[in-house]
């Protein structure tokens, strides 16, 4: 099958993401849902997550640049990011969110800024891998449907 090398590449990518704790068991739950509901679900979910995460990280940057930081708003945003990252199994991002909430609850601005940099780094790494995953899935789908026709 023409798509076999791409499928192998996708499997390797996902295995490495699990091995390096980018992803956890919750992502496997979503993979099972995709098997039951058809292709495209995972791509939609990760795209929604990445859009949400970008928006929240930008908002956190704005909030932490204020002369007087509203730690309540910061915490609410980090809580939201933790929720969505947990929902997709984005383990490393979720873990940094926990650290972020801890320093936020101490009203530690410097700690929050450091945590935000860490979240940005972890999200950027994950985002690149998700983009590769979605591209591979799309290429596989195209090749598989050509094969069937």
């Amino acid at each position: 099958m023409a798509s076999a090398p791409l499928k192998a590449q996708l499997t390797d990518l996902l295995n490495s993401m699990f091995a390096m704790d980018f992803l956890d068991e919750q992502f496997k739950e979503l993979q099972m849902l995709e098997e039951a509901s058809g292709p495209g679900f995972l791509a939609e979910v990760v795209t929604l997550f990445c859009g949400d995460a970008e928006r929240i990280i930008s908002q956190l940057s704005v909030l932490l640049n204020e002369p007087v930081v509203d730690f309540g708003k910061v915490d609410a945003n980090v809580h939201q990011l933790k929720g969505s990252s947990s929902s997709v199994g984005a383990k490393r991002v979720a873990l940094v969110c926990v650290k972020f909430r801890n320093v936020c609850q101490e009203n530690d601005k410097e700690g929050c800024i450091a945590a935000l940099h860490e979240i940005r780094h972890e999200f950027d790494e994950l985002h690149k891998k998700f983009q590769t995953m979605v591209q591979l899935e799309q290429q596989i789908q195209v090749l598989d449907s050509k094969q069937m026709n």
Partner: protein, 124 residues
């Protein structure tokens, strides 16, 4: 059950991603899905005459949180099964006191949720 044979579900969560995941999970069982983005919208669904068999209820939402929405719906005499699904472990007691039938922590394990749906006789 609501008047039709199909199980009618109301998903109440302010997060679009979460609602999308639950929708996909429940749609494969042939359920009819409606979404609400906060507790007030959920209550309004019933005030406008809609009926649901099952509600998946988040807690931390704008306008009206899940505990208050649950309490309000039970006060209206709504008999639907309510499963609280939230990241807030501390809200378990409040949810059950308000009238929720089950309480799950996010992220949801779909096998556990499926078992609950079976226990509620929503699945054959």
């Amino acid at each position: 059950m609501a008047s039709s044979q199909v199980v009618k579900v109301l998903i109440v969560d302010d997060d679009v991603l979460t609602r999308r995941i639950y929708r996909t999970m429940l749609f494969r069982f042939g359920f009819e899905i409606t979404e609400a983005g906060d507790g007030k919208s959920a209550v309004n669904q019933f005030l406008t005459g809609n009926e649901y068999d099952l509600i998946l209820m988040d807690n931390d939402m704008p306008s009206m949180d899940g505990v208050e929405a649950t309490r309000t719906l039970r006060g209206m005499g709504i008999p639907a099964k309510i499963i609280a699904i939230t990241a807030d472990a501390n809200s378990r007691g409040a949810f059950l006191d308000a009238g929720a039938d089950e309480f799950l922590l996010k992220p949801v394990n779909f096998t556990v949720l499926t078992d609950i749906l079976k226990a509620f006789n929503f699945l054959n």
